[in-house]
Structures are given as structure tokens and as C-alpha cells.
């Protein structure tokens, strides 16, 4: 089972590495969005500090979502996805592998960039730490839930926008607690514990349920 997982994981990563620009553009999108807000709302330190957690999290959401189209689209177009569906391996496992690849290519770089971006928003060290941790736990959830939307909108015209319409409401709990954790960390680091616990709970829930829903969606889209 692990070898199947690893096979799909390595395949997706290898393919993505051959098109490194795709991965890079997502990251630059994140950076640009994050840089736009201070230009729009003013560069006051206090304002930035209040806005920072939410803005960075929303930008992470959007960047993660933009990259979702690539999750299944390429395989769908050249017929690989159909083959994947026909194998005897459990589809949920394969979907999990694809989501993991998506996270490694999109979410993890975001987590790495978060401290830099946090500094742009004048976040104190505690908040920077919380930013990294919350994104670390939260971005996999985004990849997993996003997979459901990507599977449902496979091959549709206007797929990207439709995908955002469907997925963004589902992202809200992660956003609320992720950004909340960072905000609270600026007051008292100890208070962040329940936030992180909830985020971890979401992750566990998503790990178990999302691949099942995504598999069902894939079967529906590919009949």
C-alpha cells in the first residue's frame, strides 16, 4: 500500500518539477497578494499587525486554491486519470497521494515563506511561530478539501471560478481558527492551544473523509 502511495506521490512531484514555473507562479501569487494589502489599507504598523494574520491566511487560501486545478486536470486530459480509476488499488489512497503531492508543492512552500511575509506585517516572533504552525496544520486540510472541488469541476468551462465558489465556503473554519491562532498568539501564546487542537481535529477529519468524497466525485465526473 505504501509503495502505491509513494509511486503516485513521486510521479506527481516529478511531473510538477518538470514544469517548475507552475509551482513558482503560485508562490509569487501569494507574495503579490500579500504585498497588495498594505498598499490598499495603509502601512500603519498597528493596522498591519491586526490585519496580518487574516490577510496572510486568505492569501494562502487563494494560492492553494489556484493550484488545485492542476491536481487532476493534466491527468484528466491525457487519459491517465481514467487508468488510475480502473486500477485495483483503493482510489482513496491514490487521491491521498495526489493531495499530498499538491501540499508538498503548494502548501509547504507557503509555510516556508510565511515568516518572511509575517515580517512584512510587523508580526512579533510569537505570532511568526504561530503563523508557521497554523499554516503547517491548515494547508494540508486545504489541499484535501480542495481535492473534492477539483474532482467535481473536472473539465468544466469556467472551472476555476466555479471551483472557488464551491470550495471557499468550506475553507472558512480553517481560516477562522488559523488566523485566530495567530491573532491570539500576539496576546498570549498559551491561549493558542485550543485553536491548534481544533485545526488538528480538522486535519484528522479531512484525512479520513475528504479522500472518500474526492474518489466519489472523480467517479461521478469520469463516467
Amino acid at each position: 500500500m505504501w509503495s502505491v502511495f509513494r509511486c503516485i506521490l513521486m510521479r506527481d512531484i516529478t511531473l510538477a518539477m518538470r514544469r517548475r514555473t507552475d509551482v513558482m507562479t503560485t508562490l509569487f501569487f501569494f507574495l503579490i497578494v500579500v504585498s497588495l494589502f498594505p498598499l490598499g489599507v495603509g502601512t500603519e504598523k498597528e493596522t498591519l499587525r491586526i490585519l496580518g494574520p487574516g490577510v496572510i491566511w486568505v492569501a494562502a487560501l487563494l494560492a492553494s486554491m489556484l493550484a488545485l486545478e492542476r491536481l487532476f486536470a493534466a491527468d484528466y486530459e491525457d487519459g491517465t486519470l481514467e487508468q488510475i480509476l480502473l486500477t485495483a488499488q483503493p482510489l482513496s489512497l491514490l487521491v491521498l497521494a495526489k493531495a499530498a503531492a499538491h501540499w508538498l508543492l503548494t502548501g509547504l512552500p507557503l509555510v516556508a515563506l510565511a515568516p518572511l511575509v509575517g515580517l512584512q506585517y510587523q508580526l512579533p516572533p510569537d505570532a511568526l511561530l504561530m503563523m508557521v504552525i497554523s499554516l503547517l496544520i491548515g494547508t494540508p486540510v486545504l489541499s484535501l478539501i480542495g481535492g473534492i472541488g477539483a474532482a467535481l469541476t473536472l473539465g468544466l468551462r469556467g472551472g476555476g471560478i466555479l471551483l472557488s465558489l464551491l470550495i471557499l465556503p468550506l475553507y472558512i473554519p480553517v481560516l477562522v481558527y488559523g488566523a485566530g491562532a495567530v491573532t491570539v498568539s500576539m496576546i498570549d501564546l498559551a491561549d493558542t492551544q485550543p485553536y491548534l487542537a481544533l485545526l488538528a481535529a480538522f486535519l484528522l477529519l479531512a484525512l479520513t473523509l475528504a479522500p472518500v468524497a474526492t474518489s466519489a466525485a472523480l467517479r461521478i465526473s469520469l463516467e
Partner: protein
């Protein structure tokens, strides 16, 4: 007498049944809603509440609360039909789900609109990111997402099933979304929206509210049945019974 429980699960037979039921639901809706509103406007005190009473504007409650309850109820109905469709693979279930969505969305919008006006008068603000209001807004997005997904997919079978799956995923996440907005700080939870105080309300107001809700519920039955008839005609256009029906109608 042997009852065929599945007699009406075919679009052809259900079409006729729906047609016969619509006038009943329509009249019940009209009578109950008007009665409820009359009761609410004329038989109730001019003030609502004890310590800090709301003035006459509280009468928005009859429309606001009814549509809010129905918006949530109809989403459950939508999800239920979706689940039945996915499990039993029945065409009609998907059609019923599809018919329910626009009405649910309209009720959600009315709830938000009336809530906004009520909020302006009682809280002093047109909008507040209160958990219930925000969740209602999210509910509107879920309805619209459902309808958007349906219309984006050309193949009716794929569209039905994809939207049904979306509805179920939405159903599971709605409580999570609500609780996350209700308790953004897990260390403490608070809300501006009226805590449910149905037990301390003047009975006249309560009954007027319930009557209006029942009236609007009946309205939703009528409207949804009418819509599903249209959907049935469109989807089953190639079948003989529809062709016969259409030629009969065009001769009439």
C-alpha cells in the same frame, strides 16, 4: 389492497400527482400566510421583549424568522433528495433536489434582507458579522454553488450526481462552519444575535410566527412541485407521454 409504494417514483406518474397537489398547497399557503401576518400585525402588542423592548419594527420577525427557518429546512430537504438519489439512483429524486434549490436560495436572500433591515433598527447597523447572519450568508453561497455546478455541467446525469455530492459535503460542513463562526475564540463564545427565547415570547407573536412559517412552507411545496413539473417535461421530452401531453396542450 396491495399498495405500490413506488408508483409515484416515476416522473410520468409524479407529474400528474404534482399537478393535482399544487392548487391545494397554493391555497393553503395563501390562507395561512395572510392569516399569520394579519394576526401578527393586528393582534399583537406593539412592543416585543421585556427589559429593552423592540418597537413596532419587530414585526419584521414574522417574515424574517419564517424564511430563515425555511431556508435551513429546504437545504436539509435538498440534501435528503440528493442522498436518496445517490443511494437509489432514482431520476426523480435528483429532479426534486434541483427544484428545491432556487426556492431555498430565495428564502435565504429574504432572510438576509429582512434581517438587515431589522438589524438596522434594533442594533443600529445594516450588517454585522454575527454568527447566525454570517452562516446564513454562507448558506446562500452553498445554494448558489449547487445551482452553479448544476448549470455548468451539460450531461444531466453527471450534473445531478455531482451537485448531489456537493450538497451532502455542504451539509456536513455547515455545522462546522457555523460553530467556527460562532466560537471564533474557543476560549469564549459570544453573539449579537438574539439568543433563542421562544419560551418568553408573547403567545400571540409566537403563534403568528408559526402560522406564517407553515404558510410559507406550504408555498414552498407548491412552488417546488411546479418547478419539478417543468424539469420533468424538459428531461423526459423524448418520451411518448410528454409528446402526447404537449400535443394535447397545443391543441387546447
Amino acid at each position: 389492497m396491495k399498495i405500490n409504494w413506488f408508483h409515484y417514483s416515476s416522473p410520468a406518474t409524479f407529474y400528474g400527482l404534482a399537478g393535482r397537489l399544487i392548487p391545494w398547497f397554493a391555497w393553503i399557503a395563501l390562507i395561512l400566510t395572510l392569516a399569520g401576518l394579519y394576526w401578527g400585525f393586528f393582534e399583537t402588542p406593539d412592543r416585543l421583549g421585556g427589559s429593552n423592548p423592540q418597537k413596532e419594527y419587530y414585526r419584521i420577525i414574522f417574515l424574517h424568522v419564517s424564511t430563515a427557518w425555511l431556508s435551513m429546512w429546504l437545504y436539509l430537504v435538498l440534501a435528503a433528495w440528493s442522498a436518496i438519489g445517490l443511494v437509489f439512483n432514482t431520476r426523480l429524486s435528483y429532479m426534486m433536489a434541483r427544484a428545491t434549490a432556487p426556492t431555498g436560495a430565495i428564502f435565504t436572500f429574504i432572510a438576509l434582507w429582512t434581517g438587515s433591515f431589522w438589524g438596522r433598527t434594533s442594533w443600529g447597523t445594516w450588517w454585522d458579522w454575527d454568527p447566525r447572519l454570517t452562516s446564513e450568508l454562507i448558506l446562500l453561497f452553498l445554494y448558489i454553488g449547487y445551482m452553479a455546478l448544476h448549470s455548468a455541467i451539460d450531461d444531466p446525469r453527471r450534473g445531478d450526481r455531482a451537485a448531489a455530492l456537493l450538497a451532502l459535503v455542504g451539509l456536513v460542513t455547515v455545522p462546522i462552519i457555523f460553530w467556527s463562526i460562532n466560537c471564533p475564540d474557543p476560549n469564549q463564545c459570544a453573539a449579537l444575535h438574539q439568543r433563542s427565547s421562544l419560551d418568553r415570547i408573547d403567545p400571540n407573536i409566537l403563534w403568528a410566527m408559526l402560522t406564517t412559517t407553515l404558510g410559507l412552507w406550504s408555498y414552498s411545496f407548491a412552488v417546488i412541485l411546479a418547478r419539478v413539473r417543468g424539469i420533468i417535461l424538459k428531461r423526459e421530452a423524448d418520451s411518448q407521454w410528454v409528446r402526447d401531453l404537449v400535443t394535447a396542450e397545443s391543441r387546447a
